[in-house]
């Protein structure tokens, strides 16, 4: 589903081109769950943004294939239409736009791009009801301005609600667990698991292996200074939790 080959990406940091991703190789197949772990600033969110099509980042080398299509020239919304979803590490506030209105717009714009009619209001309501129940979201919450004044945990839960509404092919969850209390973590993870199928894939970015107890990864990758330096099974997450990253850094430097 997703094939990343030798991906290099930089950002213009006040006139200086700063290299962040330095040759990422990653393949995610349908039905798989991958986890990326790594120290702060290693480039995890950058990788997510580049895949999602954030134009601030310049891809200097390498390719990103989504379902065998090179998506380099696709705008972010076109990638979204194709089924790429990013649960943001820091969801953005949009004052005055309710969660419901935002989702309605997102769904209908996506349908429009696919040449479909707008979703009938009745169907939309049904979908909202279903998905908000799945994530145990109070209906009143949906009429509030998107992310405005939401607690950290509420923002994350709302991201997964959006994912549930949009039913993407590839979901990238960037530190969705941070800020969630223990119960919420279970609810959110449960939501993600319910949406999982052999036709879609999940990329989880996290610092803690707790989430991975719920959303069990097939592969765990360690991102260090813009490169994937180690990959393994779910036991790698345990090892990292226990030992930190120093031993990996030593391995890399050796």
């Amino acid at each position: 589903m997703l094939k990343i080959k030798n991906l290099h990406a930089s950002i213009d940091d006040n006139g200086v081109l700063k290299s962040i991703l330095k040759g990422i190789n990653l393949e995610i197949k349908a039905g798989e769950v991958h986890a990326i772990m790594g120290p702060n600033g290693s480039g995890k969110s950058t990788l997510a943004s580049v895949v999602a099509g954030k134009e601030e980042f310049e891809v200097t080398k390498g390719t990103v294939l989504f379902n065998d299509e090179d998506i380099e020239d696709l705008a972010a919304e076109e990638r979204a239409h194709k089924g790429i979803f990013l649960s943001f590490q820091y969801p953005v506030e949009i004052p005055g736009v309710s969660v419901t209105n935002f989702m309605k717009t997102a769904i209908n714009e996506t349908r429009k791009a696919k040449g479909l009619e707008e979703m009938p209001a009745k169907e939309m309501l049904k979908l909202i009801r279903e998905k908000s129940e799945l994530l145990e979201i109070d209906r009143k919450f949906l009429s509030r301005s998107l992310n405005e004044g939401f607690s950290g945990g509420e923002k994350k839960r709302n991201e997964i609600f959006q994912m549930a509404m949009l039913e993407p092919k590839l979901a990238i969850l960037d530190e969705t667990d941070s800020g969630l209390d223990i119960d919420a973590l279970r609810i959110v993870a449960n939501g993600v698991n319910k949406l999982k199928s052999k036709d879609n894939a999940v990329l989880v970015i996290t610092h803690y292996q707790r989430l991975l107890e719920y959303i069990v990864p097939d592969f765990v990758h360690v991102l260090l200074d813009g490169r994937i330096v180690k990959s393994g099974g779910k036991e790698l997450a345990h090892e990292l939790e226990e030992k930190g990253y120093d031993w990996i850094k030593e391995e890399v430097n050796a």
Partner: protein
């Protein structure tokens, strides 16, 4: 001639695009250009006005001659040549119709091209319209229903003839002839406009709605509107505007006076969408409007405006809170794009005790436009316990536009409580990317963000107006971000 029903009209009105500015050749009866006493007299004569009205106009003209065009607003433009304008233009035949069926199809086609889409949502049963084309009323509907309640809704010309006592008593009572340069000009030469009277204790059962049009090259539009809500009555009044595009600037100097007697309430909503000029800043309407209302005891006036059009906007719908416990409200969205300039806001004059005012202003600037909020809150010595809350938010799109806030506060009573909040924000790249990531294009994302930003004001509009206003915001900002 095939029958042209109101439904047909409504259907045709559904599309609205300015791109094809046009010019209809309804035979007009247009005065020679220039302004002098004789022209003022001729206008009055043409309209068959009584002597007192002619005198009133002449008085205004005298005052105007001594006045100079104000320059304090934060706008710059080539001043209109007041002697280069024709001050009267009317569609040739102006019979009054009971229904639109009888109206000249060409005129209806004009409306269709204008895209009076405000009508879109309106059901025949809900809205009576007093349509003003080039300053003369040509069609009035629903007069009967209104008549049963004793409500008067007609052109001001008709009112001058039919209800001289009311007009004489109230015209100029809120906006005196010599109030300001444009008001004086309007008082001298106003061509037509609307008049509305709601009797004591009557709740007007429908939104009253008027369309103003400018449709004659070189003729300024000088509308005069007078709304009187008698004791304990209620009325909601909608005013919507469009104008065909034209290269030369068109001057518009309207005056609106509202009178809310004891315990009465007037809601006055405007969607202003006149031709803003092209992307290079050529053409467009000059909109210099004086709108003011007076509240007697326990009365309430709410102004709500969505201003997206005009090259220059100079407009301060105001409330004189004369009666104790009276309430004034001002809700405004002003959008400027390309080279548009808007200087708009309100004045809340607190005279009575326990008077309350609320100001919510949302300014959106894009392109190379300039958007200024100018507001005065004045608390007079006798206005014990006056309250004001003002909130002025500006949203900037791009780096070449400007947002300015000029709040003036004059409090002469120590018990006054005045709160002012102001914010300026920019649409962030992060917000746009967030929307993009959810499948929403940048253009649509901007519309969404702008609508969200304006929500507090959009919510104050009557339903059908709100729907239209949202679309308008979207259209006005089209192409504002690459």
């Amino acid at each position: 001639m095939s029958k042209y029903t109101e439904d047909d009209l409504r259907e045709e009105l559904k599309t609205k695009e300015y791109e094809y500015g046009f010019y209809t050749d309804i035979e007009s009866d247009t005065f020679p250009i220039g302004l002098n006493e004789d022209i003022v007299k001729a206008i009055s004569l043409k309209k068959g006005e009584p002597q007192w009205m002619t005198d009133w106009r002449l008085e205004a003209f005298k005052a105007w001659k001594e006045m100079i065009e104000p320059e304090w607003a934060n706008v710059s433009y080539v001043k209109p040549d007041f002697q280069g304008i024709s001050y009267y233009s009317a569609p040739n035949s102006k019979p009054k119709y009971d229904s639109l069926d009888e109206v000249d199809p060409e005129l209806l086609a004009t409306f269709a091209k204008l895209g009076i889409s405000l009508d879109e949502q309106k059901k025949l049963s809900g809205v009576a319209m007093d349509v003003v084309v080039d300053s003369v009323s040509v069609a009035t509907t629903f007069k009967k229903t209104l008549g049963e309640k004793g409500i008067i809704f007609c052109s001001i010309s008709e009112a001058i003839k039919e209800y001289p006592e009311l007009v004489k008593k109230y015209i100029g009572s809120v906006v005196p002839q010599r109030d300001n340069f444009y008001a004086a000009l309007n008082s001298a030469v106003f061509s037509d406009g609307s008049f509305c009277y709601i009797p004591k204790g009557v709740r007007c059962p429908m939104e009253l709605s008027t369309y103003f049009r400018i449709n004659q090259a070189g003729t300024g539009q000088f509308e005069r509107t007078l709304v009187i809500a008698d004791e304990g009555s209620y009325v909601s009044y909608l005013e919507g505007c469009t104008a065909p595009s034209r290269d030369e600037n068109q001057l518009h100097a309207a005056v609106v006076e509202l009178i809310a007697l004891d315990n009465a309430e007037i809601k006055y909503s405007t969607v202003q969408n006149w031709y803003p000029g092209n992307a290079e800043g050529k053409g467009g309407v000059y909109n210099f409007v004086t709108k003011r209302g007076i509240c007697e005891k326990n009365a309430k006036i709410s102004w709500t405006q969505v201003e997206t059009g005009s090259a220059i906007t100079w407009k301060y719908p105001s409330c004189i809170l004369k009666g104790d416990n009276s309430v004034g409200e001002f809700y405004s969205i002003a959008v400027t794009n390309n080279f548009q300039q808007a200087d708009t806001g309100t004045k809340m004059i607190h005279l009575g005790k326990n008077t309350k005012s609320t100001i919510i202003s949302k300014g959106i600037s894009a392109g190379k436009s300039q958007n200024s909020y100018r507001g005065l809150v004045k608390i007079s010595p006798n206005a014990d316990n006056a309250r004001n809350f003002s909130q002025c938010d500006s949203l900037l799109m791009g780096n070449d536009c400007g947002a300015h806030t000029f709040p003036y506060i004059e409090a002469k009573n120590k018990t006054a409580k005045i709160e002012h909040e102001a914010t300026t924000s920019k649409i962030g790249e992060d917000q746009i990317f967030y929307c993009n990531q959810r499948g929403i294009s940048t253009e649509k994302a901007i519309a969404l963000i702008v609508n969200g930003f304006s929500k507090d004001v959009l919510n104050k509009l009557p339903m059908e107006f709100a729907v239209e206003a949202k679309k308008l915001l979207e259209i006005s900002l089209e192409g504002s971000v690459g």
